[in-house]
Symmetry: C2
Subunit: 369 residues, 2 copies
């Protein structure tokens, strides 16, 4: 147990976590686990969006109250967080290892973490989230080898891994539908004008969202007309994989995309020049998701026009809807309404977040009541 | 100057006010004026929505650091806040009077406040907001009679009086358009079903808004079909004046409305039984506002269906738009979209407030970019 006297600000942040204890008259304190798990989670936030179908994981190794190892899983195929941290630690005999996700016990592209932990002489493992996607949990194996294992649940860390579990269990990318609309639900006016509907601050925030994605999907028409960059240039150099849907195969890549060296996937019934083509005759969203998962994509943002958005909602192929509302009204015809159906059809959502960007508002919803 | 040691919470609230000073190393303090003006403003918040075309005003009289008089303007025609406070004070010789709005210097339904202040022997007047609607400011008159006058501006108090000044200067009610919609901008599905679109917490909040209004306006169809109560029963017994628009005069009051004894105004080309009828052939919103102001209404909430809302927006006859977004999507035809025009027509708004009611979100906008 570490005792800390904390400022009011720190107190407020920690008060929301279930493990925080502040008995009357005692100094504010919280359990050691909580602190190191949060530090490991900081590593997760740094690497989220760059680990493909693998989860971002953070790991901290502590000995005698001093951090001796720090690790994060950086990319699909590279060393796991635990292994990175053990390498940094050198002699980790008798140390405690904190990690955001339960250590794996299986040999995939890398050897199992449990083995590395045992060999390093680590005496205790504290983890925040159980990896329900594993057939074989490593806990029993670790305990059988004399390692104490503690599950220290943390709501924020759990929420982060939702997308990973959904993706891994359903073998499809976690899908975020993103759109920018007027208050009355139009993506553009009747003539298709939509440029600068939302403000600079919102557009910058879209880049933050893109930075966390493996891929961004648009329809052929949006790709042809808007020539969207679909990058995250306001926040990083990362360019998520561009995914273009073409039911006819009639799509020509823009010169800038051909020369960029960035990965571009076209889903089409026939091969498309200069692009990695996923060939299919079946364009239902569920099939597209299957193909994209096979291509290594576990977080997908759909930035379609109104047909794509409406189809994905109606086919129930989404996890999250992010709407940027510009402080504007447009009216007009049914054209370019972000959601359209033949007749009224109620879809229920759950509000999970509200953000303000000057006069724009970003609302985030998840599926279900 | 009064010095106070304040808790962290109080500090946060006051930090936003321009007059608050907290030099390093000194105890937190703020000027006396600020404190009493805020207390006077508390009285305003209590009485807002019950003073008709008059502004709600709060007044505090202080002598030797003790409050000796408290006053608020309660209803159109009744004594002004300053007069109420002076009556309570008894002997106010040498006292300081704090009020939210500059004291009047004119004889309307009541004698001028300036005269009462001078006769009471008050030596200093502190007010927050200049009454720009007055031809004759009372300041010079007070000063000529030896009263010290201090203008202590306060952003929150100023913002409150916006509606009053707009109403008085333009001789029309301040107009709030209120609506509850799905995220894609529908008030109801294609068959007109709209009941319980928003949740209980949002509906209760609508009652809070109504409590602050003089009147609530609906179209004839909404009145006939929905039989709306349009009251504030979840927060108070106040029933704002019901205003019903009927272009044909073909409207029958519901039995409950006839027997309630509450004021109901019908705007119609011919007299309507059991109702106070404002007769006109001209149903443009601007004309309706003129008639309603003459009938004593200075704060009007329009709770129309999509025709009324769209017409009032398109005719630029509104000050504020309050949208409750339910976490739902509906799609369907153009029917029951909250905003419709023949062709796209951009209206720019300014975001002024965001509130969350469980999964519903209330966004408040004012006119203009």
């Amino acid at each position: 147990m570490v005792y800390l006297t904390m400022s009011f600000n720190t107190y407020r942040v920690l008060f929301v976590t279930p493990k925080f204890k502040a008995p009357l008259g005692a100094p504010f304190y919280f359990e050691e686990e909580q602190m190191y798990i949060r530090q490991a989670f900081d590593l997760v936030k740094m690497t989220a969006g760059q680990t493909g179908r693998n989860p971002a994981v953070g790991c901290i190794i502590v000995k005698n109250g001093v951090i001796i190892g720090i690790g994060a899983h950086l990319q699909e195929g590279s060393a796991h967080a635990e292994v990175q941290a053990i390498r940094m630690a050198g002699d980790a005999t008798g140390a405690t290892l904190y990690c955001t996700l339960e250590p794996c016990n299986h040999t995939g592209k890398t050897p199992p973490c449990t083995e590395a932990i045992i060999q390093a002489g680590i005496k205790k493992v504290v983890f925040a989230v159980r990896d329900t996607s594993l057939d074989d949990t490593g806990i029993r194996y670790l305990e059988a080898h004399g390692v104490e294992v503690v599950h220290a649940p943390d709501a924020a860390v759990s929420a982060f891994y939702d997308a990973f579990f959904i993706s891994k269990e359903e073998k499809r990318p976690y899908v975020t539908l993103k759109l920018a609309a007027t208050l009355d639900g139009k993506l553009a006016d009747d003539f298709g004008n939509s440029k600068w509907l939302t403000n600079e601050a919102s557009r910058q925030d879209v880049h933050r969202l893109r930075h966390q994605q493996d891929a961004v999907l648009v329809g052929r028409k949006t790709y042809a007309v808007d020539e969207p960059k679909l990058d995250a240039r306001h926040v990083s150099e990362k360019v998520p994989i561009k995914v273009i849907i073409s039911r006819t195969g009639d799509v020509t890549l823009h010169e800038a995309d051909i020369t960029s060296g960035q990965r571009i996937i076209v889903i089409s019934p026939t091969a498309v020049r200069h692009a990695e083509t996923l060939i299919t005759q079946d364009f239902r969203p569920a099939r597209l998701l299957e193909l994209l998962y096979q291509a290594g994509i576990s977080r997908l943002m759909v930035e379609g026009g109104s047909s794509v958005i409406s189809e994905w909602i109606n086919q129930d192929c989404f996890d999250e809807v992010v709407i940027y509302y510009a402080p504007k009204l447009l009216g007009g015809t049914l054209n370019n309404r972000f959601y359209h159906t033949e007749e009224s059809r109620m879809t229920h959502l759950r509000l999970v977040d509200i953000q303000q960007f000057e006069d724009d508002v970003r609302l985030t919803y998840r599926k279900g009541q």
